[in-house]
Symmetry: C2
Subunit: 144 residues, 2 copies
């Protein structure tokens, strides 16, 4: 893997975000600074970086691939309503969970895990009180 300006920029951008963007979201952001950056390059590099375990390709039930600049194992929650994926840190029993998972990794010989919780996020739960289900499905326009 040679050095490349584009790859650096992609990685830096991804790392600067706490959300979990798709390839085209990253592309859109970077295009301001690098107008000639092509979407294909973004795809190629994200794939490459994930293969080298520099970043994480998320396991999600969604229709687009999402990436995470934080390659350390941690947990995600997918909101049933808005489709956003959020990091769960500092959730109750987090330490306990971590401990069990470390043991499981060791005993199975696996190198990583991804945990996706499904539910309705705080933000959407808040909304639901005011206007109850105006739209049927939130979809996944916003990635989180």
């Amino acid at each position: 893997m040679n050095h490349s300006t584009q790859r650096d920029a992609i990685l830096a951008e991804l790392r600067s975000l706490t959300c979990h963007p798709t390839a085209d979201e990253l592309h859109a952001r970077l295009r301001n600074r690098m107008p000639r950056l092509s979407l294909g390059t973004v795809y190629r590099n994200l794939e490459l970086l994930a293969e080298h375990r520099v970043i994480l390709k998320l396991a999600t039930a969604g229709s687009q691939k999402r990436f995470d600049g934080n390659a350390d194992p941690h947990h995600h929650m997918r909101c049933d309503s808005c489709g956003r994926i959020r990091d769960m840190h500092g959730m109750p029993h987090d330490g306990e969970l971590e401990a069990v998972l470390v043991k499981i990794l060791a005993s199975t010989g696996c190198h990583a895990y991804q945990l996706e919780l499904a539910g309705v996020c705080d933000e959407c739960r808040g909304k639901a009180v005011q206007r109850t289900n105006r739209t049927k499905r939130g979809g996944e326009k916003n990635g989180g």
Copy 2:
């Protein structure tokens, strides 16, 4: 949700499998018996069944959606080498893990979780001893 012959067949087929087929894998299998079954119908029904939580739409890092006839929360392992997804039951510390996750669901208000472990499956590890890495990437032709 009305009753439908096709939906029954799709569900039965999915439940009869321990692997986690894609829509077109299911379609291919069913087509023997139901030659006029269309792929669109398979997609529509899988989506519907998953929405009603009768089956599980898997969260995976792969490029195709995979479904699981077993809607009860359980764990999966994705093989880095062959791409197959396997159920992990009876793994060490399973009970412990379950217990923590139940607590976490309760305290976060989530209704489900999916855990995907990543590593190399027993079968591939076996092969690797005999012929070390003849093909670079196993891809994900075989779904698990």
